[in-house]
Every structure is written in C-alpha cells, then in structure tokens.
C-alpha cells in the first residue's frame, strides 16, 4: 500500500486577481512519511491544498500524487487521496456510521467490505462506540476523528489535512497529532499536515515552510535544523518567516 511517490509539487504558481498566492512552489512529501506544511495565516497553505485536491485549478506547474499527474488524471489522483478539510464537511443530522457510509460510497465503496472497513477505521480512531450517535451530539475532537476516519476508509495512499486541530483543546490536539503520526507507521500512509502550530511537528518528520506564497525551506526536520543552525522547529520557523510573526504556540 505504501506509495513509492508520495506527493510531488513542482514550480506551482497561482494568483487571485493578479495577486500571487503561491509562487514557484516546489517540494516533495515523501511516501510513508509525516510532512508538516507550516506557515503563518495567509501563507498560501489552503490555496496549495485546494490545488492538490482539485478544488482549484488552472495553475501553473505540476502536481503528482502517488505518481499520478493531477491535471492529466484528476479522478485517478483523487482516488488515492483522503482529505480532511479545515472547515467541517460532516452531515450533522446523520450518524457517524451514516457519514462514513456516504464518504466510502463517494469513493465507489459499498456493502459488506465497506462496513467492515468502516468498523475498522472507527476503532482505529477510537470512536467506534459512538457509531450510532448523530454527529451533532459529538464534541469537536470526536468530529475531527470522524473526519479523519472517513478520509481513511478507502485506504488512501496519501492523507491531506488542512489545519485539522483548529478549535480543539490542547489535550485533544495532542492526541490527534500523535494518532496521525502513528498512522504513517501503522498504515504506511503519506501524510501532508498543514498547520501554523509548530509544536505539531516532530523531529522525525519532514517539513515544508511556506511564507507569503513561497516555499522557504523543505526537507527532513533534522536536516533543516542543521542546515539553518537552529535548535528547534520554532526557532527555524521564526527565522524563515517574518520576525514579527506572532506564533500561536
């Protein structure tokens, strides 16, 4: 299941009304690794993820997901991806299970096999007990877990998450970060985790720092720390982004 390719972005540029949102972005999210996409608010993270997931199109450059060119074969590429949006995309009046069934079916999966996999991922995300509860009755942490479970149900090679911890308390946030890190080893999934919170990135991860639409640095965290002579990810982030950028940490 491990992808030999992960995500490859080459010379990606995009602008809104002539105002550049992304300029010549090039990086790779290695297969089976957790790659943090760090950037302050307005850095271009959501634009980048919208381009990766086909919500926006018409940009310059190239994107390949699991070795598939997203412009030439968008449907095939999207079939390889599980997506967790920044804004919740759950149906509040349906139960957890019904939301999962719907998500799996949109990926072409239905019936007994789908139900088994749904049970498996709900257990993986520790929300199997609430499967018959309506989403409206869940707290923010469980809703996020459900969104991740839904993104995993079709066994994607790549999991893309756009600021998944927004609005969560610290404990829930830490649990979620740990859980997704674990997925890269237990499920061999390539994870691209967009955030502006530096403490969500571990030293063993890969990192892409985006600022004002440009990739400031990309590679394994340890390598980047050494390269820029920074002791921590926080100091690295501060050095590569505006000095006056207030971090939420």
């Amino acid at each position: 299941m491990q992808s030999p390719n992960g995500i490859e972005v080459r010379n990606l540029s995009f602008s809104y009304s002539g105002k550049p949102a992304l300029t010549d972005a090039t990086f790779q999210a290695r297969a089976g690794k957790f790659t943090g996409l760090l950037g302050p608010n307005g850095a271009g993270k959501s634009t980048l993820l919208s381009l990766l997931t086909g919500l926006l199109g018409g940009c310059g450059g190239e994107i390949s997901i699991d070795g598939i060119d997203t412009y030439k074969h968008p449907c095939q590429a999207l079939g390889r991806v599980g997506i967790v949006f920044q804004q919740s995309a759950l149906d509040l009046d349906l139960t957890l299970e019904q939301n999962m069934i719907y998500g799996a079916a949109l990926r072409g999966w239905w019936g007994k096999d789908a139900r088994q996999k749904i049970t498996q991922v709900l257990e993986l995300m520790n929300i199997a007990e609430q499967r018959r509860a309506k989403v409206r009755e869940l707290n923010g942490g469980h809703r996020r877990r459900l969104e991740i479970a839904r993104a995993l149900v079709h066994q994607p090679a790549v999991l893309i998450l756009d600021e998944p911890t927004v609005g969560l308390d610290i404990q829930t946030r830490n649990e979620l970060v740990a859980h997704v890190h674990q997925l890269t080893t237990s499920e061999n999934i390539t994870v691209l985790w967009a955030s502006h919170l530096v403490d969500e990135i571990h030293e063993s991860d890969d990192l892409v720092i985006l600022h004002k639409g440009r990739v400031r640095s990309a590679g394994p965290v340890t390598q980047l720390l050494q390269q820029h002579s920074c002791p921590t990810v926080l100091s690295l982030f501060e050095r590569l982004t505006c000095a006056d950028q207030k971090l939420v940490n």
Binding site: S13, F14, G18, D24, G60, A77, A105, W110, Q155
Partner: protein, 275 residues
Amino acid sequence: MITDSRHPYIVALAAIIWRESLRFIHQRTRFIAALVRPLIWLLVFAAGFRSILGVSITPPYETYITYETYIVPGLIAMIQLFNGMQSSLALVYDREMGSMRLLLTSPLPRSYLLLAKLAAGTVISLFQVYAFLLIAELTVIDIPAAGWFALAPVLIVSGLMLGAIGLALSATIRQLENFAGIMNFVIFPMFFLSSALYPLWRMRESSELIFWICTMNPFTYAVELLRHALYLKLNTQGLIITSTCLVLIFAFAVWRYNASWRSPRQRTGEISKKE
C-alpha cells in the same frame, strides 16, 4: 488503496440518493409543507374558483372536467419545482458550510456528481407527488389507474428539468440569503405564467403578450406533459421541449459549477500562468 470497485458510478449515485432520502426523512416538516401547499390550492383555491373559471373541453380531456381536475397536473409540477428549489437551496447551504467539498473531491467527474444530485432530488419529488395524488384521489379527483404508472417516467423528466433550474440558480448565486429572494422571482412567475392554473387559450383572450410569455415558459410544457400522461397520452411537444430544456439548463449549471470551483477566474480573479 481500494480500486476494485466495479460500479463506482452506480455506488455514488445510490449513496447520494440514499443521503438525500435520509435528510428528507429527518425533515418531516419539509414533507408536510410539500403536501400542504398544493393541497390548499386544490381543496381551497380550486373549490372557490370552480364556479368562476370554466374549463372547456381541451386535450387530453374528452369531456367537461372540474377545475380541481384541471389544476392537478400544475400542482404536481409545482411540487417538483419547489422540491428542485429546495434541493438547490441545500446545495448552496452545503457549499457555504463546507460539506460540498466532500462531494467535489470525490474521484468522479463533477458533471456526473451534479447529475446524481439532480436525480436524488427527483426521487424525493416522486414521494411527494404520489402522496399528494393519493390525497387528491381520495378527496376530489378521479385518476385512471393506469395513469398512476404512466405518470412515473414523465415525472422523472419533468423533475430533472425543474431540478436543473434550481441547480443552475444555485451555481449562479453565491450567498444563501440571496437564494431565498431569487426563489420568489422564479417560482411564482414560472407557476403563474403557465398553463398550471388556466388553459393558455384563456390567457390569449386576456392578453396576447402574456400568452406569448406562457408559451416561452418551460414550466408550461412540463405541466402539459404531466397532464397528458395522467390520461395515458403522450404530449410529444411537451416531451421534446422539457427534455431539451433539461439538457441545456443542466449543461449551463455544470459549466457554472466548473467555472466557479475549478477556475478562480470567475470567482476570485485571474490565473497566473507560470512558464
């Protein structure tokens, strides 16, 4: 990764219909409202106007009919029009709330996903129409038994066409609050400027201009298609115009959705092409 699904298109269609049906079941007031509206027209309005508005023998009717009998096809189309608008309102809501993204990032062509949404709305309208017809049959009108079955395929065509109008509107209107206002400018003119409540020859007696507008209204042809089907007749003109409108309006809606979601030109600006 799962790639061995043999019928992803059918599975996605079934899922979208299933989800819309679940939503509909949860929204009992929507079902009641969908029934109460045409029933008031049928049981109150038509009862009051039956002595004022005489309907002569016009196809497909072979004898004099009551006014209640005349307006039933128009009320069926009204149910489908309201349902189409409500489905599209839900689309605008989904888009604003973010849940539309799940649909748009599924690995199927966007045009197919929108068609599946349209089909789901049409299925919901079938439940509403048959519930209405059952009450109408039990109270004021008499429908031929075979008419119940003959109506079904025609309901699908008219439901898709009327739903496509809502879909096109939802693709054009960006904010939820604007949508409610536009509905009033679409639903009521479409309904009143058609043959739903009065035959077109009556319109012509009053105003040639209004008659001409009515003949330009696709809703008129949907109503006539339904009227003929209820009495086991095929209105070829109605079928051709309704089907053509369905294709054109749906193509417009798909074009608008693709333009607004895939390219930022329409939505937020121009594209910067990198060499």
